[in-house]
């Protein structure tokens, strides 16, 4: 495992927050995923070893919690809320627009590698539906037009990044 020094420092810091090491499984999964982009089998075994548990104990968590992924995703992660309040305010149209903009299917990496568009369950911002999280940032009242704007912005940043 090739983790950044900062990630390792955070890992060392978080484990003593708990009287039982196993409790640090979720925090470590978050840290390792932030560092590596996804959770590989190597990461599962590394975490299990670090917490003195069996790899199956970590594997059980990775597959239970939707936020952990076992494959890399696009550069940006677009998560559109699918749940009732957003759906009745047009969340499905928003999601379709993102897919159209990047020519990609749900849960796939777009052909240009820029994004992965996903439906997720309630993001707890129902009053400003439909909502979308792009990476860690929440966007409110994202109708199809706003989805196009956001997509353009991402595409623009990609061009800058690639130049």
């Amino acid at each position: 495992m090739n983790l950044q020094a900062e990630t390792l420092r955070k890992i060392d810091e978080v484990i003593p927050h708990y009287p039982v090491k196993r409790s640090a499984a979720l925090p470590l999964l978050h840290l390792v995923q932030e560092d590596q982009g996804f959770i590989s089998n190597e990461a599962i075994e590394w975490i299990a070893d670090r917490l003195e548990i069996q790899p199956i104990n970590v594997y059980e968590l990775v597959t239970f919690y939707p936020m952990f992924r076992q494959k890399p995703i696009g550069r940006r992660h677009i998560k559109v809320c699918r749940t009732l309040s957003c759906a009745i305010m047009g969340g499905y149209r928003t999601c379709a627009e993102f897919q159209k903009q990047f020519g990609t299917g749900l849960g796939e990496v777009s052909p240009d590698g820029e994004v992965t568009v996903e439906f997720v369950e309630c993001l707890a911002s129902c009053g400003t539906a439909p909502v979308v999280m792009i990476d860690d940032h929440l966007h409110e009242k994202v109708d199809a037009a706003r989805a196009r704007e956001l997509s353009d912005k991402i595409k623009g940043e990609a061009k800058t990044a690639n130049r």
Partner: protein, 569 residues
Amino acid sequence: MIQPASPDLITVNVDGKEIAVPKGTNMIEAARRVGVDVPHYCYHSKLSIVGNCRMCLVEMGMPAVDPASKAPVIDPATGKQRVNWSPRPTIACATNASPGLHICTTSPMVKECREGVMEFLLINHPLDCPICDQAGECKLQEQSTGYGRGYSRFIEQKNVKPKRTLLGPRVMLDDERCILCSRCIRFSKEVAKDDVLGFVDRGSYSTLTCYPGKKLENNYSLNTVDICPVGALTSTDFRFKMRVWFLKQTNSIDTETSVGVNTVVWSREGVVYRITPRENGSVNDTWMPDSGRTLYKQIREGGRLEAARVSGSVADLESAVKAAAALISGAKVAVVGSGRSSVEEQFLTRKLAARAGAEAYLVSRVGQGDNLLVSTDKNPNVRGALVTGLISELPKPSLGALGERIDSGSVTTVVSVGEDLLAAGLSASQLAKVSIVYLGTHDNATSGLAKVVIPTLTVFEKHGTFVNQQFRIQRFAKAVPGPSGSSDDLVVLSKLLSAAGGEALGADVGSLWPSIASEVPALSTMAYSNIPDTGLLLDSSPWSTLAFAEEATLHFKPAAAAPKEAPRG
């Protein structure tokens, strides 16, 4: 027999029947005591309780008391204390009996609950009973006759999950049949201490699996097959071999080690198909090692002795016995008995040794134990040899003393009861100096050198008893007939004894036991037929000074003050 301390008893009411049960008994076990079966899948008496299958939902009530005065509330109609029934059903597995607890397992609500759970369990189940090995001993199949609909209201696509996954060398998994009861996971974690199984994904898509690259291959893996209530986990050895309803069950004992694991031997038309554990809460709970399950294969293994031989030529039993008696009479005899022989055989071996004026030896087998159900003593019945007086001290690591006596010429005939003397440490040149009488099941170096060879039976082909490491005497029974040409060890030994001029004793356990009871102090008050299926603890005090080899196992603590407590897992 040593009685456990009497626990506090409390009275509960199951479907109108009152019963006294020990405090802490759960509702399922309390109901079982009055003959009421509470169906369940995830509950297992020897595992932690998770309450996930919801099949054991029952109605629960408590006697009504006035909240203020705490006085019983009497129902004027019946004159009895009123029962406050809980409006919601309760899981019987996780609810312990408390004084006055009422359980109802027959109400419409309970029936509805069971039918609901059954329907849910079946909607994503492949319903492939015709090709499923579990058919006939499947809890799902069993309960669906009582609580199933008989038709399906489910018209959607069933979930698709992995089929035919090899979890390990002996266990096959069909995830579509799995009802996610987690018994196998709990067993692996709690009993086998090998945390390799788990659920991945979630909801109805949850799937039992091993971590990629790991295997369920510990020596207890097949217990997961035993406790799997459905056909999700099957034994690679038994798979597709035989329908269980054709099989006859015979109680037996695992002969691997001195633990004396209680087993059931499953056979049909003289062929053994599998061995499974038999519950004995004082010995093996409901578990057994995988290694003990394949022992039946020795029955049909190559090298099985098929006929008696005298000086290399085939002979009938009578002439073989006569030839053996001739080698014994007047000779300087030594008898090598066996810790694998039954108590009854050891008794006759002792008689024979006494008649021949021979010293008796026993072959020691000490090896690795696992502190669970495999002990360090690989002989199942060394204590039987002590109890019957065949030996008075523990067997030496080798037969060196016998070798010396052979070399010095003070032994000229050796009778071996099933033991390969070369493997036990005697040299070929030593064996060349003596006449050997060999009783046994399989060809080996000793049988090749023996003057007289008499084929006998494996543990699966005869009746008898063993005394395990706890000094618990336990019976095993004949599951299948022996091959033609071989004879019951007791028949051979008793014929040999009388041919050698000894007394005529019974040649089967039934007729032999009166003699055993009259001559063996530790067994004096017993009869073979009275030994319970779970055995009887003998008074071990006469042997308390001996330094037995065993370390702690599941229900055994070494008597020594400082037990060697090896960590397991």
